[in-house]
Assembly symmetry: C2
């Protein structure tokens, strides 16, 4: 896809030249970033706050398909996926490191696009790129991002704090990223069969963006702070709602009741799921990659939280012996099971 | 290589099962590790000290060759390579995260060996495994390690603090890892031509270990502390002595004189280099992967540092206009140039 543009081979720059070239436009914005790129390690200053660290590895052919993923979006998404973990601790994300492995099929211009996406994400979310590693790869594109942030000790939300009677809440809407992926996969299949047919994604921007360009919910962490609500437990929705609810309940040693009719699903997600012959609820429960925040709050916070249009109350926490259940629209009670997104089974 | 042993397919465990299986024997040893594996992010407490972060990506076929690299050694080395960066800041390494991508050719038993090596390194160096990510890979083995540590602000050694007149020092000896690699590559070539010939590494343990199982120089950081010496600048030797000296001089805006006859080279490295028709000095200058510490100290520290048998004084820092020079054994002056280890050119 870069054949027709100017093509600069990466070998011409070498490792240090490449890092310098890719990162020279990145500015340090946070006072906690004492020293960024250019030494053996980054130096960060969180004073007496706690340091938060999370890391993710994204591999071509497993986590992304370059047939329909623009590199700029991919860079943006790689950062979002990671920041989401810091927000899920109720923390402030302040730094990332990015390591990439690049096969020789990529010219410099391709890597620049990837870093443009990383740069836009850093800019928008106020995080500094403070380190990383670049290497050639025999194995397609490899991206490893580590995100770093901080939180005051009494603000940190773990997965294990849910209490009986707590309200189960989720931000945004669910299932869109999964349906967006189905759409992209279908169009890829059609294109491979007949390269003259152009992809038909018209009017499907929202769900395609949910897949290609997710947004970590920094705004929800800020909204909770403004509402003076500290969730009793929190996790981000990367593997599907069911899997995440089961994580919270298992680690908190609690049960839960989840109401199908309360699960937020965007109309476009709903309709497109139906077009594919899929149950929209199943897409929300098992689809994954939504990067919304799932959390529990005390019932005392109900009056405050119910007015936030971006947060849905989808159930409540019960005693452990009650187990985890989904109450369907027809009032049937099903045991909640996770299929989740399994990087060891899926193959894009 | 795992055909004859018990072979457990990784899919049977799934992603969460795999992480739990691999990490359940890892213990948290540092009080700074508030929360390790099992939440969205690790939570660390460095009180008023500065946080140090460094990350490296290791890719099969680029950074390691499984034809002669035992997985246990590889896990150990992946940790050492990273810790070395924290020590190069004069810091204390306390945590790591490890992400791996594994192709389906690896059974669980192989990944267990890799984690055994990681575990031994964590144990020996007193660091906690606090997070990571596992995924399948279409493309061989991918390992990404992030190391985290801390230092008091006034103890941190950057690359840019070298002063005119400072002594240029290096720990241990150099070139061994590179010569070890040449030996392993030669034996691999012989084996591929005739699989009945077993590798002949007899008596070469030291240089083979330098390549396969390097040790980060935590002991040197501790020795400097005991000697009450704070280097004016420091870097670890991962890309070859010449490249690292040039980094220090460039970032400190200084020149230097390096004396060939002072460069520490182990006799086995020296002799084996000669057997290969290589100049041992060139191996030390450009070989890389030694993971020794290169640092500068004030001349006032000479009387203390000269007695440490594990530290060699190899030159001194000069004014920037003088440039960087190597003074050969025959007293000829050469401009110091780095070829270094370039992950974009090398192919194992």
């Amino acid at each position: 896809m870069f054949e027709n543009k100017g093509r600069t081979e990466i070998e011409q720059l070498g490792e240090f030249g490449l890092i310098e070239h890719l990162t020279k436009h990145f500015e340090i914005k946070n006072s906690s970033s004492v020293k960024g790129i250019g030494d053996d390690a980054a130096v960060l200053n969180f004073e007496n706050k706690k340091t938060l660290i999370s890391t993710d590895l994204l591999l071509e052919g497993i986590h992304f398909d370059l047939a329909y993923t623009p590199l700029k979006h991919l860079g943006y998404k790689a950062v979002q996926v990671n920041l989401s973990d810091i927000y899920a601790m109720n923390g402030t994300a302040t730094q990332i490191t990015v390591s990439i492995g690049i096969s020789s099929k990529f010219p410099l211009e391709a890597v620049e696009e990837l870093y443009q996406g990383i740069s836009i994400a850093c800019e928008k979310y106020g995080v500094d790129l403070v380190g990383g590693d670049t290497s050639s790869s025999k194995q397609g594109l490899v991206i490893s991002v580590t995100s770093i942030g901080f939180a005051e000790e009494d603000k940190i939300c773990y997965r294990n704090g849910a209490q009986e009677g707590d309200l189960l809440c989720v931000s945004g809407d669910l299932g869109g990223a999964y349906i967006g992926l189905q759409l992209l996969e279908r169009e890829k299949g059609i294109f491979l069969e007949n390269p003259n047919i152009q992809p038909d994604l018209e009017g499907k921007d929202y769900i395609v963006e949910r897949q290609l360009k997710p947004e970590a919910r920094k705004d929800i962490v800020e909204a909770l702070e403004l509402m003076k609500i500290k969730p009793t437990s929190m996790i981000d929705v990367s593997d599907g709602l069911a899997s995440e609810i089961l994580h919270l309940c298992k680690q908190s040693n609690k049960g839960c009741s989840l109401y199908e009719d309360k699960i937020p699903i965007d109309p476009m997600t709903y309709d497109t799921a139906r077009d594919f012959g899929l149950d929209p609820t199943v897409c929300a429960l098992n689809g994954g990659e939504d990067y919304e925040l799932l959390f529990t709050v005390s019932q005392n916070d109900f009056e405050i939280i119910k007015n936030n249009p971006d947060i849905s109350i989808i159930g409540h926490i019960t005693e452990p012996a009650a187990g985890c259940h989904l109450i369907s629209k027809s009032q049937k009670v099903h045991e909640l099971k996770a299929q989740g997104w399994n990087a060891f089974k899926k193959s894009v």
